[in-house]
Amino acid sequence: MKRVLGTPVTDYMPALGLLTLTAIYLATAYQYSPDARAVPAGVAWVMLILISLDLVSRTRTKSGAALMHWLNPAGDADKQDAVKRYPVLKQLVAVAWIAGFAAAMLLIGILYAVPLYVFLSLLIQGRRPLLVCVGFAAGATLMIWLLFDIVLSLELYPGILFGGA
């Protein structure tokens, strides 16, 4: 894995992402009146300082090690090396399942998304027999329908494709 100043590139990603997000947030804040932006802008400026410190502390340099030791000792380089890392692709797939399920709820509604997601998840991710997948999908749907639609009388979202707003 490619390293910058001794640290894997991926370890800088969250801080860099947050830095970008904070910069956009700050730029947006300055479009509002002084009263409306006072606190958000103040927080964003402090965040820029804190994230910069976090970025420096992640480098495996003298100053980085000192900062890490003073401000974030739990993240010392030797402790980070001991952290178990999982393949990036596996993590992306797990996130994609969540995103897919949320998107399905939006598009086809809860009552169709639930069985579809449970069935596909068990079949593809869990590698379970077809009958087990169907059983769990039907059970999950029945549970959601009984609980929310029947017991609580809450109208489940029908999905954008089926008339949902």
Binding site: G6, D11, M13, P14, T28, A29, Y32, S33, D35, A36, V39, P40, V43, M47, L50, I51, L53, D54, S57, R60, K62, A65, A66, L67, H69, W70, L71, N72, P73, A74, G75, D76, Y86, Q91, A94, I98, A99, F101, A102, M105, L106, I110, Y117, V118, S121, L122, Q125, G126, R127, R128, F136, A140, M143, I144, L147, F148, L152, L154, L156, G164
Partner: protein, 507 residues
Amino acid sequence: MLDMWLHGIEGLLQFRELAFLALGMFIGLFFGAIPGLGGAAALALLMPLTYGLEPFTALALSGGVMGGVPMGGSITAILLNTPGSAPNAATAIDGYPLAQQGKAGLAIGAAASSNSIGGILGTVSVLAILPIAKNIVLLFGPPEFFLLALLGLVIVSTTSRGKLLRGLITGGFGLMVAFIGYNDVSGGERFTYGVEYLWDGVHLVPALIGLFAVAEMINLYVKGGSVANNAASVKITKMTSGLMQTFRHWPTVLRGSLIGTVVGAVPGVGGVVASFLSYSMTVQAAKEEDRDSFGKGNIKGVIAPEAAINAKDCSSLIPTLAFGIPGGVEMAVFMGILIVHGMQPGPLLLRDHQVEIYGLIWALTASCVLASFTGLLLVKPLSYVTLLDAQILAPLVLCVAFAGSYAIDMTIENVVVTAVFGVIGYLMVRFDYPRLTIVIALVLGASAERNFHQSMLMSDGKWSIYLNRPISAVLLAATIALLVIPVVRAMLSKASNRKILVEREAA
């Protein structure tokens, strides 16, 4: 006064009232266990059903619900790292690692007993404080509320042991998110980027479901296996050992109950602050060698928030009943039930409906204890949930979590918020950022900003207002001390510094 207490008990000890109390407790347990529902949803759904009930019966039902919710929430928090209601997120920090170690029964046993004791101590406090509540609340003004929020954030950041910097960063991120939406200071929307849903801000409960439940399910997907790492120990867990742990750690229970009582008495602060503050203070108070075990399955990490949650539930009745200022969302809904039954919250309520109010307090206490016993009975069968394979468990939990998130206010955008915060939560776990501070920031952000502006208005823009008022000055000093002490301590540990630098140079 004693007369009214006894009348309250007498009113509650009728068959119908007890039956509705038990029904409310079961409903509370059930709603508490389902992420996204919680006490506010349960009370809101029951409100129309109470129309036909006598006021006393309606209050017994409500007390039953409010007492049952925390126990239900702690069961799922411990077993699945999925807090049924927001305050139980603190319980999950150590409860879930205990479940992973096959000690779910121990954790639930401790949660049940600390729940009961917290509820009882909270009731004692309410009975003592209610008559003098007004004077206590009046000691706090906008500057104190603002600094209290700041102190809460810093305390929680320092609690994330060894992660002060990253704790402050996630706290800052939480504040940035909390400022999204309609701004009642200047009267316009901010940071919504044209999304209408965001006018009301990012909803707390969907965000919490994402941060904890969804993030954990992503984690399980990636790791594989089951929640509990040790199947054999799940089977031999003794229920009574959890109970005994609570009595063994009585200072933690007392501290948690006290924090819960104080926080509950302050309007608008809520159970999340009570549970996380109690957890933080317990970590701070722990011995040096004991501190590292927090977050990895320390039973005191379960006892502290659980005692605080129930104590807070009792004491949040103080601002709700005495001033008509709800202590949180659940109390706001409960106020609706009071009004439906002709009881206008405020000082007059305490004069005109004393018997009903004391009946409610006893109902809430009884429900806490009853829910704990019921929870204990369910320990054994529920513990086996932790043995379910991740590939089966995760889809089922996600279905309930997403549907529960939608059900909060029937808004599908909640599902998107839950998914987004689920990914954020997973990234926080993966890159070692603490999640505690983001929760506190989301809860306190808006009120902190409002109180900051009110303070500035009070002082014509002079910052000295935070130093001129005694309570403010103490809170400010405590905040600065908490920020500075860990850094100075680390800088002064010369030997450790030298070792790190030598190692770095050698590398």
